[in-house]
């Protein structure tokens, strides 16, 4: 690359600052997410998976909740098709994420898009949406965040699978409660979005009822869809740009 070339210098400086912004956004999230990778690895080997199999789930699926659900179902000897259906149901929310995200991928090449969608996990979706609401979403920002998160998830799984047998009783440390309270905190980060309270209240009630009637994992898909339907009925907020900027300030912290 020609170092005397003005635009290329500008682009390099820009890439460096995008990379820095991605890492700054990612670090607090890693503190919250990595324990789940460790917990997953630990539970996986305690349930009888080998370290390689535990790593295979983290590398191939890269979605903590569905990995834990698959583990639970395999533990009770559920048939393969029911496990695959559960994985699909739990991860179905990503269809909605990728639909929303595809509005912001104008700067991405074809292969970059393919990689971007593979790496699309909940926190990355949140970070990308927040970023896109205030400036152009760059491949550098998105892929730095995503690749680092993927590598960290694998390392956390490896750590948990390697040392997991040392944790005698994960429940004594309240580790099973980390996931719900983490999701609760994430949800509250969206409370300034339009129609948040009717959406959340609907999802809450429907999820509890479905959980009670049909059991997991249907409460996630059906409860989620009920809240989304309410948002669709209420329609767009009047001042869209200001609302999304408030959300940016909120979830970016």
């Amino acid at each position: 690359m020609n170092s005397a070339d003005g635009p290329s210098i500008a682009m390099t400086a820009d890439a460096a600052s995008e990379r820095r912004a991605a890492i700054q956004t990612l670090v607090p999230v890693l503190l919250a997410v990595l324990p789940f990778g460790v917990v997953y690895g630990a539970v996986a080997v305690q349930e009888g998976l080998t370290v390689a199999e535990a790593m295979g789930f983290s590398a191939g699926i890269f979605a903590g909740a569905s990995q834990l659900a698959a583990l639970q179902l395999m533990g009770i000897g559920a048939p393969v098709w029911s496990i695959l259906l559960t994985i699909f149901a739990l991860n179905f929310r990503h269809v909605l994420y990728s639909a929303s995200l595809s509005r912001h991928l104008g700067a991405f090449s074809g292969p970059q898009k393919a990689l971007a969608f593979f790496l699309l996990v909940d926190p990355l979706f949140g970070a990308a949406e927040v970023r896109a609401s205030s400036r152009r979403l760059t491949p550098t920002f998105y892929l730095t965040y995503g690749v680092l998160m993927y590598g960290s998830w694998l390392l956390a799984t490896l750590a948990g699978a390697s040392f997991g047998r040392l944790i005698e009783d994960p429940k004594a440390f309240g580790l099973d409660f980390v996931l719900p309270v983490y999701f609760l905190g994430l949800v509250m980060g969206f409370r300034h979005r339009g129609a948040f309270y009717p959406v959340a209240a609907t999802s809450l009630i429907v999820s509890v009822v479905v959980y009670w009637l049909a059991g997991p994992p249907w409460h996630v898909s059906i409860g989620g869809l009920a809240g989304i339907a309410v948002a669709a009925v209420i329609g767009p907020p009047k001042r869209v740009s200001e609302a999304s900027r408030d959300t940016a300030a909120e979830t970016g912290s």
Binding site: L96, L101, A232
Partner: protein
């Protein structure tokens, strides 16, 4: 998940575990680019659909958390409500630490 390694009973062969990993991975990737395919196919997103998409994270994550209110014991129920109130003021990681410590503490006391 009661700590007994049920997988070692032999119900699950190594091959079927890797089948779940590969097929589950493919299905997950399908969901991760499926929305993009749908949007490219149908073109632009109407405002109402866009409002619905904006509500996706809050709706889905609320649905994930909600059963704690009915499936957990009293320590979990109290902790999740306390965390809900704390989350108006405190950053996410602080709420996670406090909530987990509350539940661990309650269990240590045998509540």
């Amino acid at each position: 998940m009661n700590g007994v390694p049920l997988l070692s009973d032999g119900v699950w062969s190594v091959g079927s575990i890797w089948l779940v990993i590969l097929a589950g991975g493919l299905l997950t990737y399908l969901t991760r680019f499926g929305g993009h395919i749908l949007i490219s196919f149908f073109g632009t997103i109407p405002p109402r659909a866009s409002a619905a998409l904006d509500a996706v994270p809050a709706a889905v994550m609320t649905a994930i958390v909600a059963p704690v209110l009915v499936s957990g014991g009293w320590p979990e129920r109290v902790a999740i409500v306390v965390c809900l109130i704390l989350s108006f003021r405190l950053p996410l990681i602080a709420v996670v630490v406090i909530g987990t410590a509350m539940v661990a503490g309650a269990r240590a006391l045998g509540l």
